[in-house]
């Protein structure tokens, strides 16, 4: 485990380097960007003074280390657009994104199991085919377009849900349904395929031989085996989910992290983009790490294998 933590830490350092380097290579003079519209009226000598006062003329390693140090003290920098600390801005935008992401994960797990298990109990039956066809239909266009269809149907035609904004939580229903539903359908397919492999294993046949009915054996012995795979799969899809959120938030006009980064991009708020890349990297790494821990707990064989 110590090894895993160290490699995680190294990856994080690399991620921070990538985000710092990308913004450092950005076209345009950072000092002028810092001053915004007033930069035109300032004499070049004054510009140089501001540059050195802000430490922007220091060599690259020095600036990078300085940035890392301030991050370690919880200071992500200041937004050029609003002049407020980025941390405060993130804190204001995070809850909506976190709610949707969490809701989608929960919905996906439930849908995955509810739809996946019947597929195995009646292999080749109606549910099996229906799930397969629905899953491939919903995966045939980007998720935000599925969201657009849902928005058109439920909010515009049927007027059941708000067209835009949070609206006391009801505005989050469609985003969660869209992202969670799509992920749940593919989770059901993965669960089905994995379970169908498990039922041919000897321990499963032994359970059947001891007199368990097929559904009982699937629920008690089959599922236990594929649980860890489900966790790995969800963790793998999590990064994609974060990407999908940017589009979904735009689509549904929700003030979350995704729409925040688009605002930052359109106003060339480079420190925000820099902090965002680092933030996303940290979240994904934390997610992978906790998935790893969960898998070890669910499947002791994994822990033994890695030790030996």
């Amino acid at each position: 485990m110590a090894h895993r933590l160290i490699s995680c830490f190294l990856t994080l350092v690399l991620v921070s380097f990538v985000s710092f380097l990308a913004v450092d290579l950005a076209p345009g003079d950072p000092t002028r960007l810092l001053l915004g519209g007033t930069a035109q009226e300032i004499a070049p000598e004054a510009l140089d003074r501001i540059r050195s006062a802000q430490g922007l003329d220091a060599p690259f390693p020095e600036r990078y280390l300085g940035w890392l140090k301030s991050i370690l003290f919880g200071d992500l920098g200041v937004s050029l657009k609003t002049n407020r600390p980025i941390l405060t801005e993130f804190a204001a935008r995070l809850p909506i994104t976190a709610l949707i992401a969490f809701g989608a994960l929960v919905l996906a797990s439930i849908t995955g199991f509810v739809l996946g298990v019947p597929c195995v109990l009646h292999e080749g039956g109606f549910v099996d085919h229906a799930v397969r066809i629905t899953a491939s239909l919903f995966h045939s266009v980007p998720a935000f377009l599925v969201g657009l269809f849902a928005l058109y149907l439920f909010s515009f035609k049927l007027e059941l849900l708000p067209l835009y904004g949070v609206s006391g939580g009801s505005g989050l229903i469609l985003p969660v349904l869209t992202l969670g539903g799509i992920m749940g359908l593919s989770l059901a397919r993965v669960l089905r395929n994995a379970l169908l492999e498990t039922v041919h294993e000897e321990h499963f046949l032994a359970a059947l031989g001891k007199g368990l009915s097929y559904p009982q054996a699937v629920l008690r012995h089959g599922l236990r085996n594929v649980l860890s795979l489900m966790v790995t799969y969800l963790a793998m899809r999590f990064a994609g989910l974060l990407g999908g959120l940017v589009l979904i938030e735009t689509m549904f006009s929700l003030p979350g992290m995704g729409s925040y980064i688009l605002e930052a991009i359109s106003s060339r708020d480079l420190p925000v983009i820099q902090a965002y890349i680092l933030f996303i990297g940290t979240v994904v790494l934390a997610c992978n790490l906790s998935a790893d821990l969960l898998v070890r707990w669910l499947d002791p064989r994994v822990a033994k294998e890695r030790l030996g």
């Binding site: 991620v15 990538v18 266009v141 593919s186 989910l241 589009l247």
Partner: protein, 287 residues
Amino acid sequence: MPRIACIGGTIVILFLLLGLTGEAFAPYPPALSDYGNILAPPSPGHWMGTDHLGRDLFSRLMAGTRTTLGLALLVAAIDTFLALVIGALCGYLGGWLDRAMMRLIDALLALPGFLLAICLLGIFGGGALQLVLFLALTGWAQLSRIVRNEISAVKHLDFITVNTAFGYSVARNLFMHALPAVIPSLLVLMLNTIVGNVFAIVSLSFLGLGVSPQTPEWGMVLFDARSFFLNSPWLFVFPCALIAAFTLGLHLLADGIREFLDRKRFLFPIEEVRMLASTASSCGSDT
């Protein structure tokens, strides 16, 4: 070959032909505005209706096929090439090169490719060239790791050991014997990568970060229409149908090939490959 592979293959080939000759089918020039027919619903004159500038949607989609598919295929080709070279070298040679490369790939995979592409396009500006560059930059890592894992699994199989005993050089062993063994799995993954790329290109254009606004492109058509979706549903129904048809074609083809390879016992030994290939989705399809 299984039937679904044939059906999927036919759809994909049709789309490729459309990409090559798309303008020939377009009844109007894609940028021609018909101000008498603004936001007109589908009619015999405009099969798929018109947008807010009176431009014929069918013509724009036909013209856009080349851009979208061309860029997606280009990115997939770059990714596959990089994956073959980097993955093969790291997997076969191992050592410090392998360790350093895998660390870099870990870092890249910790950043969702699509989000990184958004940020990079935001920092450096959009455009077709940047789009290809940043999508390729964020896409090669996953494929490379899979090729690397497969190669390092194949490396220890008997036939490679025998070849080594015969005195085959590393290069001959790697390129003539180990690499061909991983091509089947890579092919299926590549088809999924193309889907992921189409989704990413359409999504990035929809966010206004993709190709320049004048270029007809599937996502650009959606971007142009985004204030008019609700009252003019044909503006998103037809682009969606086109994307869905192409994606289904690729998925059918990929499934068919996989079935064929399974029957021939070219199984995927790596868990990750199985998982990616067993769902209809893979790289970036959440976008």
